[in-house]
């Protein structure tokens, strides 16, 4: 077997995944803190307030990275789900399942921070702007995938169904985005596009915290995903011997009691 393929299968086995992810987890949390804390400090205190948007511009340092993550995680979920669907890799199924609530949370954060920013800048919490609307639809897509996951009891069948839905959603996502954009120009709504034309000229003092936060959210996603997946793996494999041995080791005792 090709060494890469061997590695792939080995990491895909639940005990090996559990062992490896336990090693990665502290590092990911440390990296989140290392990038997130300076990113937040620079963004919320050091970066200059905007001439037009004043202090409310600081919401951007949370809003924009979350918006990037909301789309990145959906793509991640669909691709990992496809890997699980095609090669029946158990861990891929678990990862896809655990990514959905994280992505939904980032989407919700994007919508909430966006509307908080919109109140002082646009004068309203919500407009039917193209990007706002497609972000809202993205949230609905996440909910659909999560609801399907929860409705089907057998975790492996649930994973396959949810993976198909996530893939169809991923293909549909650009269509939704551009159709909403087209709809928006048709209706000639509020023409308050702040970043429409001169977006490229962003000052380094604002770019640094933004990039730091972009990395922090990625690392946080990794950490959150792994810790969720570890719990999920233990739950799905609870009947297996390696989990039994693990619990025995954690408890430091041989007496587990008889489980039916």
């Amino acid at each position: 077997m090709h060494p890469l393929l061997l590695w792939f299968h080995k990491t895909g086995s639940p005990p090996e995944f559990y062992r490896l992810s336990g090693k990665f987890l502290p590092w990911l949390i440390a990296l989140t803190a290392l990038t997130g804390l300076p990113g937040l400090y620079l963004g919320l205190f050091e970066a200059p307030a905007d001439y037009l948007q004043r202090e409310s511009v600081r919401i951007m340092y949370i809003h924009v990275p979350s918006a990037w993550m909301s789309m990145f995680i959906f793509a991640f979920m669909a691709v990992v789900g496809a890997v699980g669907l095609i090669w029946r890799v158990k861990i891929a199924e678990v990862l896809a399942r655990c990514a959905a609530p994280i992505g939904a949370t980032f989407t919700a954060i994007t919508l909430i921070t966006g509307s908080l920013w919109g109140k002082p800048t646009w004068g309203t919490y919500w407009v039917w702007d193209a990007r706002l609307t497609s972000e809202l639809v993205l949230l609905f897509l996440y909910f659909g995938v999560m609801a399907l996951h929860n409705a089907i009891e057998d975790p492996r069948r649930a994973a396959r169904a949810a993976a198909i839905l996530a893939l169809v959603g991923l293909i549909n996502l650009p269509v939704i985005h551009y159709s909403v954009e087209w709809w928006n120009t048709l209706h000639q709504g509020q023409s308050i596009r702040l970043f429409a034309s001169d977006k490229s000229s962003i000052d380094p003092s604002m770019l640094t915290p933004l990039i730091l936060m972009a990395f922090a959210t990625k690392f946080w996603f990794g950490a959150s995903l792994l810790s969720r997946a570890r719990v999920q793996v233990l739950e799905q494999e609870s009947g297996k011997d390696w989990v039994r041995q693990l619990v025995r080791k954690e408890l430091g005792t041989d007496d587990l009691g008889k489980t039916p």
Partner: protein, 224 residues
């Protein structure tokens, strides 16, 4: 292979049409639903014809999306529950053909009646002639895609005891672009623009859904 794919296709079509006929009141329920909702809008918004004409395209499209949900729950589940689906799988015939027959019948029984009803609804909403034609064309081109997403959701939830609200949660976000282009085409004509662009998008969607839909849904049913 004792029979051609066409024999299988038309045989299934006849069987399912007969089943739909035997459950007439259930089959016609989406149509009554559409009529009632169409009556509700003028009652809620007032009878001024200018306002009604303005919203007619959107209303008809929303009504179609909602009424198409009503028939989805039983699309595959009845066959899964009574074991007919297992026989179809065991027969080693192409499941794609089976699904194609079911999808065509689903379109004939839910979309077609509403497409025929649409000019009447549009007339009662005082939509002008040109926009009426665009509405009907947009429905003809857009409904296959909606039916495909519906069938996909039905396939994903076929093994569950009830699809219910889950179905609408899955279908509605996926179909929003169809709604936008369908209602947008009518809106474009009303505001003096051209409906060419949205109609072409819908046509592309129809081609994709007819050519890939049955295969995708058959594969989904197999993994379920």
């Amino acid at each position: 292979m004792p029979e051609s794919g066409f024999g299988l296709f038309f045989g299934l079509l006849r069987r399912d049409a007969l089943l739909l006929y035997r459950r007439r009141s259930e089959t016609l329920a989406p149509l009554w639903f559409a009529l009632i909702v169409a009556t509700a809008f003028p009652l809620a918004l007032g009878p001024e014809s200018a306002k009604l004409a303005r919203i007619a395209g959107g209303v008809v499209w929303v009504i179609f999306l909602l009424s198409s949900l009503l028939s989805l729950d039983s699309l595959f589940r009845s066959d899964v529950e009574d074991g007919a689906f297992d026989v179809m799988l065991a027969s080693r015939r192409s499941l794609t053909v089976v699904v194609a027959a079911k999808m065509l019948l689903n379109w004939l029984s839910t979309a077609l009646p509403l497409i025929l009803l649409a000019p009447v609804l549009a007339y009662s909403y005082d939509l002008d002639q040109g926009a009426q034609q665009v509405l009907v064309v947009s429905l003809l081109l857009g409904t296959p895609l909606v039916c495909m997403f519906g069938a996909l959701a039905a396939a994903l939830t076929a093994q569950l005891r009830r699809g219910g609200v889950l179905l609408s949660l899955i279908v509605l976000p996926l179909t929003l672009p169809v709604l936008i282009f369908g209602a947008g085409a009518v809106e474009a004509v009303l505001t003096g623009g051209s409906a060419r662009q949205p109609l072409l998008f819908l046509a592309a969607g129809a081609v994709v859904s007819i050519s890939f839909g049955p295969w995708l849904i058959a594969e989904t049913l197999k993994t379920g």
